[in-house]
């Protein structure tokens, strides 16, 4: 009888332990969280579009390929990634309220800092597409023509050309 009671108690304890282990049962599983951060785009006005001296009544053109006077923007970003670009172009250069018309814009874009091996573009406000090079660079070259009126007052005329690039 004594032995049977001991066995009963022992078994009961085992049962309680078993029940407790069931209560503590737990499992887990995992997933990953992932993100890819792209390089930010930078646009630098690398070289001004410079017409130098112009004379009343004489139009002057600077070609985009003019290494000294052509305008140039240097762009960096995520290598090999497509971008959209557009220009904000002035219709006049100004000086003390006087206008010097500017137009006939020409351009060229290339993954390398060169006006060969890329493709010609016509700078405009209409968004267009391009791709950053494998090195994450893109170069825009800009040219234009100014048309001074016969009675254009002398002075220093300026305007701003803006290039916007986005992913």
């Amino acid at each position: 009888m004594y032995t049977a009671s001991k066995a009963a108690v022992a078994t009961l304890v085992l049962a309680l332990v078993a029940a407790a282990s069931v209560r503590a049962q737990g499992v887990n599983g995992s997933i990953t969280a992932t993100a890819t951060v792209q390089s930010p785009i930078t646009v630098a006005g690398a070289q001004n579009l410079a017409f130098g001296n112009v004379f009343p009544g004489v139009a002057k053109t600077v070609a985009y390929s003019d290494a000294t006077n052509g305008g140039r923007f240097d762009v960096t970003g995520q290598a090999g990634t497509a971008v959209t670009y557009s220009f904000a172009l002035p219709t006049n250069l100004t000086s003390s309220g006087n206008n010097l018309p500017i137009g006939s814009w020409t351009g060229y874009l290339n993954g390398a800092n060169s006006t060969s091996g890329g493709s010609g573009i016509t700078p405009s406000a209409t968004p267009a597409g391009a791709s950053l090079s494998a090195g994450g660079t893109l170069y825009f070259f800009v040219g234009a023509t100014v048309t001074p009126a016969n009675n254009l007052p002398a002075g220093s005329y300026t305007g701003t050309v803006t290039l916007t690039v986005s992913y």
Binding site: T11, A15, V22, Q25, I31, A35, Q38, Y167
Partner: protein
């Protein structure tokens, strides 16, 4: 002898809940994916986003209750040890007994949450979060591990 017999009966009763019930399981089904981020621009993934939200499928005794807790990273780790801050809002986790992303009960993934398994012993947890890349965030791929811990109450 009679005492011994009672003991066996009690033992059998104690173990009965285990018999014929689904085992507890947690399966990571879908990663929490932010895709492409730009430096300085926070990105939010909703727990109801079928493509980007994280998902765990749970299994256990039908109609039983369990407690869900998470082990959440505060950052994702990227190139050369760079870190990308990650945060979880008070309703960024959701539980669906029917395993339907469209019918979730939101809860705070930073707090324990009591769930009830379906009649088939199933359920799913969906998870969203916010990533906040710094303006100077280094470009590259970032990853982290999210663990769901499930404890059952038989």
């Amino acid at each position: 002898m009679r005492g011994l017999r009672y003991a066996f009966v009690l033992t059998a009763t104690a173990f009965m809940p285990l018999a014929g019930q689904r085992p507890l399981t947690v399966t990571g089904i879908q990663s929490l994916t932010f895709a492409t981020l730009l430096p300085g621009m926070p990105s939010v993934v909703s727990r109801t986003d079928a493509v980007k939200s994280g998902r765990f499928d749970l299994g256990g005794p039908h109609d039983a209750q369990g407690e869900v807790t998470f082990t959440l990273p505060s950052v994702l780790t990227g190139p050369a040890g760079a870190t990308l801050p990650l945060s979880f809002g008070g309703s960024d986790a959701g539980y669906s007994q029917s395993q339907n992303i469209g019918s979730q009960v939101g809860f705070d993934p930073k707090q324990p949450f009591l769930i009830t398994f379906s009649g088939q012993g199933r359920g799913s947890v969906f998870l969203g979060a916010t990533a906040r890349p710094a303006p100077t965030q280094r470009a590259g791929s970032y990853t982290g591990t999210i663990t769901l811990n499930l404890t059952a109450f038989p």
